[in-house]
C-alpha cells in the first residue's frame, strides 16, 4: 500500500548513450505519411453530407405532426415551452444537489413559443383578414377556453385527413379559431416563410438558428431521420456520423454515462453526466499528482514491452556486455 500511494520519484537524468536523430526529417516523414493516409481515406471514403431538414420540408412531409407540434407551442405545452432557462421561466431546468447553474444564469435567449412560433409570424400575413380575426378571437379568449380549444384541436388532428397538396382537414368542432390559426401557419410553413421569420437576426446574413431548430426538435422529423441514420442514443449515438461514417468516438467517456443508471432515467442526467465527466477529466489531467493512480504504470509493467530492448540490454550479464563492446 505504501508503494502504491508513495510519492517517491527515483527518476534520474539519463547518463547513458545517445544515438543520432534528425527531428526535422522525422517530422517531414510523419507529415508525408499522415497526409498520404488522409488523402487515401478521402479518396476511398469521401465524407458524408446529408441535406439539412427545413421547416418547409417538415410541414410538407409530415403536416399533421407539424400541426400537432405547433398547437403545443401555441398552448405552451411543447418541450421548448416548458424547457426553462435559458429560453423561458416555465421550467425548473436541471440541477445537481445545491448546484443549479441553469437557473442561476437565467434566461438569455428568450422564447415565447406561442408568440414567437405562431402568433408573431402570422401577424405578418396582415392581408388575410379571416386569419387576423381568428388570432384576435383566440387572444381575447380566457386561458381556459384557449387551452380547451387547443386540446380539442389536438384530439381532432389524430383523425385528420391529408390532401394531396399537403393541406390538413379536421372535423368541425369547438376550436374554429385554432383551426384557422393552424391552417394559416401550415400554409406559411409550406411556403418556406416561417423559417425565415424565426431567425433571430433581421440582417442580411442569418447565423442564429436556435428558434427554427428548437421548433423542429419539438416535432418528429429530425428524430425520424436520426433513426434512419442510426444516430439515436439507443443506436450508435455520437459514435456514428450520417452515412455510417465514424463520428466523435472520443466522446465515449461522456456518452457512456447516459447508457447506465442512475443517469439513464434521471431528469437531471445532463448536468450529472457533465459533472462526472468533468471530475474524470480533471483526474485525467492531474494523474501525475494522484497517489495510487500515478503508480499504476509502475505496478502493471506495460513499460517492459515499450522499453523491451532497453531492459534486454540491462538483463545481459556485465561480462558479456564488456565483451560485446
Amino acid at each position: 500500500m505504501r508503494r502504491l500511494l508513495g510519492s517517491h520519484d527515483d527518476t534520474r537524468p539519463w547518463t547513458g548513450p545517445y544515438v543520432s536523430y534528425d527531428l526535422v526529417k522525422g517530422l517531414c516523414i510523419a507529415l508525408g505519411v499522415v497526409t498520404s493516409l488522409a488523402v487515401l481515406l478521402a479518396v476511398l471514403f469521401s465524407s458524408p453530407d446529408e441535406q439539412p431538414s427545413t421547416i418547409e420540408q417538415w410541414s410538407r412531409r409530415m403536416p399533421v405532426n407539424f400541426l400537432m407540434a405547433a398547437t403545443k407551442e401555441l398552448d405552451d405545452e411543447s418541450l421548448t415551452a416548458e424547457y426553462g432557462p435559458p429560453y423561458n421561466h416555465n421550467g425548473e431546468g436541471q440541477h445537481a444537489a445545491f448546484l443549479d447553474p441553469q437557473k442561476w444564469l437565467g434566461v438569455d435567449q428568450p422564447i415565447d413559443t406561442a408568440e414567437d412560433y405562431v402568433i408573431g409570424p402570422l401577424r405578418t400575413l396582415s392581408s388575410d383578414l379571416a386569419l387576423q380575426r381568428g388570432i384576435a378571437e383566440y387572444k381575447e379568449a380566457s386561458a381556459y377556453l384557449q387551452s380547451d380549444g387547443t386540446n380539442s384541436y389536438e384530439k381532432a388532428l389524430r383523425k385528420a385527413s391529408v390532401a394531396g397538396d399537403g393541406s390538413v382537414s379536421v372535423r368541425p368542432g369547438e376550436y374554429e379559431n385554432v383551426d384557422t390559426i393552424m391552417h394559416g401557419l401550415l400554409g406559411l410553413a409550406q411556403s418556406g416563410g416561417l423559417e425565415s421569420d424565426l431567425l433571430n437576426s433581421h440582417q442580411s446574413f442569418q447565423t442564429d438558428y436556435t428558434k427554427p431548430l428548437l421548433l423542429m426538435a419539438d416535432g418528429e422529423l429530425l428524430e425520424e431521420r436520426a433513426n434512419e441514420q442510426h444516430l439515436l442514443a439507443k443506436q450508435w449515438g455520437m459514435m456514428n456520423e450520417t452515412g455510417s461514417y465514424p463520428g466523435q468516438a472520443w466522446l465515449w467517456l461522456y456518452t457512456f454515462w447516459y447508457q447506465i443508471e442512475p443517469f439513464k432515467s434521471s431528469p437531471n442526467a445532463d448536468i450529472l453526466v457533465i459533472l462526472v465527466t468533468t471530475l474524470l477529466s480533471l483526474a485525467f489531467v492531474c494523474i501525475p499528482f494522484i497517489p495510487g493512480i500515478r503508480s499504476i504504470p509502475r505496478l502493471i509493467p506495460v513499460h517492459r514491452l515499450i522499453w523491451r530492448e532497453h531492459y534486454r540490454a540491462q538483463s545481459t550479464p556485465l561480462h558479456e556486455l564488456s565483451q560485446a563492446s
Binding site: L23, L31, L41, D49, P52, P297, A313, T316, A324
Partner: protein, 258 residues
C-alpha cells in the same frame, strides 16, 4: 509641458530613431535573447540525438498527431478561405472537406495512442508533470474544437448534433456563450478561438518536451545501460563526445512527485 520641452519635442518630430542606437532597445533585446536561450538552448530546441531507450513504435504517435494537426489546419484554412458552402457543391471542396475529416480522425487516433503510451511510461516522472498536463489539456480542448466543427457542417448531422448537445450546455449554464444552435457562434469557436488555444497548448507541450526530453525507463540502471551499446547504435553515435545530458546541465526545477 514646459516651453523648453515643447521646443525639444517639436525639433525631434520627424526624426527616425534607429533601434540600434537605443540602449533601451538593445538591452531589452539582449535580455529577451538571454532568457530565451537560457530557458531553451538551440541544442534542446532542435536536438540532433536522443537516448538509446527511445526505440519503440509508440514514440511515433506523438509526431504523427502533430503531423495530423498540420493537415487539419492546412485543410481547414483552405475550407474557410473558399467559403462555407464551397465543399457542399464542388467535388474539389468535398475532397478537401474529406481530408479535413479524416485528418481529424487520425489526429484523435494517434493522440489517444500517444496518451496511452505516455501513461504506461509514467511520462510525468522526473519533473515532467507539465508535459503531461499540457498534453492532456490539449486532448480535452480538442474535443470541443471537433464538436464545433461537426456543428459547422451546415447539414443534417450538424442539426442533430446541435439539438442533442444543447441540453448538456444549458444544464451547466453555458448556453449563452456556447450556444450550439447558434451557427455563427460555433463557427467562430471552430475557426478562431479553439484552434488558437489548441495550437498554443501544442506549442507549449513541444517546448516542454524539448526542455525535459523523453522520460527515461523505470528502474534505470545507468551502469549497465552505459556499458551496453549495440554495434549498430555505436555506428550511429555522434563522433564528437556527447555533451553532458540536458537534464544535468539544466536540472528541472519543477520535479514532481511520482
Amino acid at each position: 509641458m514646459s516651453a523648453t520641452a515643447a521646443n525639444h519635442a517639436a525639433g525631434d518630430r520627424g526624426k527616425a530613431v534607429s533601434p540600434s542606437t537605443s540602449w533601451t532597445t538593445r538591452a531589452r533585446a539582449a535580455a529577451v535573447r538571454a532568457a530565451a536561450v537560457g530557458t531553451l538552448p538551440p541544442e534542446q530546441l532542435l536536438p540532433d540525438s536522443q537516448p538509446t531507450y527511445v526505440a519503440s513504435w509508440i514514440y511515433v504517435f506523438g509526431l504523427a498527431a502533430l503531423a495530423a494537426l498540420v493537415v487539419i489546419v492546412g485543410s481547414g484554412i483552405l475550407l474557410s478561405l473558399k467559403g462555407l458552402a464551397w465543399w457542399h457543391y464542388t467535388a474539389v471542396g468535398r475532397f478537401f472537406n474529406s481530408i479535413h475529416l479524416w485528418a481529424v480522425e487520425l489526429f484523435f487516433f494517434t493522440m489517444v495512442i500517444h496518451l496511452w503510451g505516455k501513461f504506461w511510461m509514467a511520462a510525468w516522472r522526473g519533473g515532467r508533470a507539465r508535459v503531461w498536463v499540457t498534453g492532456a489539456v490539449t486532448f480535452l480542448i480538442a474535443i470541443p474544437t471537433a464538436l464545433t466543427g461537426y456543428i459547422s457542417q451546415q447539414n443534417f448531422d450538424a442539426q442533430w448534433i446541435s439539438i442533442q448537445a444543447k441540453d448538456a450546455m444549458n444544464s451547466i449554464g453555458v448556453g449563452a456563450v456556447f450556444n450550439v444552435t447558434n451557427f455563427g457562434q460555433m463557427y467562430s469557436y471552430h475557426v478562431l478561438i479553439l484552434p488558437i488555444v489548441v495550437l498554443s497548448l501544442v506549442l507549449a507541450h513541444i517546448l516542454l518536451v524539448c526542455r525535459h526530453r523523453v522520460v527515461p525507463p523505470f528502474e534505470l540502471d545507468t551502469r549497465r545501460a552505459s556499458a551496453r551499446i549495440s554495434p549498430k547504435r555505436e555506428s550511429l553515435r555522434p563522433e564528437s563526445p556527447r555533451p553532458a545530458p540536458v537534464s544535468e546541465r539544466h536540472p528541472p526545477a519543477d520535479r514532481a512527485p511520482s
